[in-house]
Symmetry: C2
Subunit: 236 residues, 2 copies
């Protein structure tokens, strides 16, 4: 197998740069705001329920999170939350959007090492402008031949991506932290996956570990292990 | 010039389906909510200022509009707006997102007539999921070879689109209601434009009518005039 016909796809949030920690930090402040009304578990459970109810309309991203957080706060306080506190939530959302992009360790070097030898693509979901801004800030855009920001990462989305770019699934390896969005749909289509778990996973991304796919599913501790997995996968 | 090497790009909101009327209807309710505090002109001017201040972070679309509307309402009422009224604004945003898609008159027939003879593409900006949902509801997706949802429609975005799809600008005609987003950047790159004004234009889309570009700029009253403009442009 020639190296040059291989395509390696990368997820972005919590694969290339830290993301869930930004939500977690915001969520700590959110819990503190509502602490006089409800315990943290109730706040978490209610917000997650509102987010899931709104997901079909809002999609992924910080703007939808902010709207769901405001809605939840009104609900959990019986309407007693003040306009000033709601303004604070809007400000919290803006701070999340303006947050610096912090790369995961080893990402910059690994992409720079792989880019000359393989076709690298970025496939991520979320707010269009927010993901573009993060990619711009990351300094990584130069490594990617294609960047796709999609509204959902399921088998249909990957299939359309393969068709659009003339990629044979058997020549495609997807790298990401989410089994549900990055790994399982690609395995289903006959591609390969390198799963690099992040220390935090949003509940909506939870999925069971799939059965073994020898030679097609790699579980890595660190991005630095990726070139070795690519070699092993491609039989280089 | 063979018909088959021509690409016709379409804007979506207020070109294929009604959009600004949905914002206008929502805005009427918004003005009524704030009428006890401020006159309509002050509400309009303040909201537009907040939207423009937030545009870089929020991008286009209904979620950003809703967040800016809440922020503006808190500001204009000096924090006296109630949590229940803010919940009403969140509900208003959801109603906008769930609004039925109403095609402009003549659109379905015109696309069906052009699709067998030319390559049709859709290039729109806004919320990813919202635009995908509207395209799905519209029944028009079958006519488009490519659909691009971008965060801004400027010359750079069109240039990247041309490169990605191997389109020569001189073989490209863009159809849309916004001089600023649909017509001027394409003319700048050497393409052609068919401008079909909509009866409402968001202030942020305002642009001066460009100087004449004989044979490259067509101003149409109605989508039904498009096939004639395409023939005239292509010398068919």
């Amino acid at each position: 197998m020639a190296a040059s016909d291989l395509t390696i796809g990368f997820d972005a949030d919590d694969t290339l740069w830290h993301n869930e920690v930004i939500f977690e930090q915001a969520h700590e402040r959110y819990r503190a705001l509502l602490a006089q009304y409800h315990d943290a578990a109730t706040v978490d459970r209610t917000l997650f329920g509102v987010e899931m109810r709104n997901l079909e309309l809002y999609g992924y991203g910080i703007k939808g999170y902010t709207l769901s957080a405001i809605e939840t706060a009104i609900e959990l306080t019986g309407g007693r939350i003040s306009a000033g506190e709601i303004r604070g939530l809007i400000e919290l959302g803006r701070e999340m959007l303006a947050h610096p992009v912090n790369l995961l360790e080893g990402v910059a070097e690994t992409l720079a090492a792989l880019a000359p030898r393989h076709r690298l693509v970025l496939i991520t979901k979320g707010d269009l402008r927010d993901q573009e801004r993060k990619l711009g800030k990351s300094g990584l855009a130069v490594h990617f031949e294609h960047v796709e920001i999609v509204s959902e990462k399921n088998a249909g989305a990957y299939r359309r991506f393969f068709q659009r770019h003339g990629i044979a699934p058997g020549r495609f390896l997807m790298v990401g932290n989410s089994l549900k969005s990055d790994i399982l749909p690609v395995l289903e289509l006959g591609g390969a996956g390198a799963h690099i778990p992040y220390h935090l996973t949003w509940a909506a991304e939870h999925a069971e570990q799939p059965v073994a796919h020898p030679g097609r599913l790699f579980t890595l501790k660190h991005m630095r292990e990726l070139p070795g997995a690519v070699q092993s996968w491609a039989g280089l």
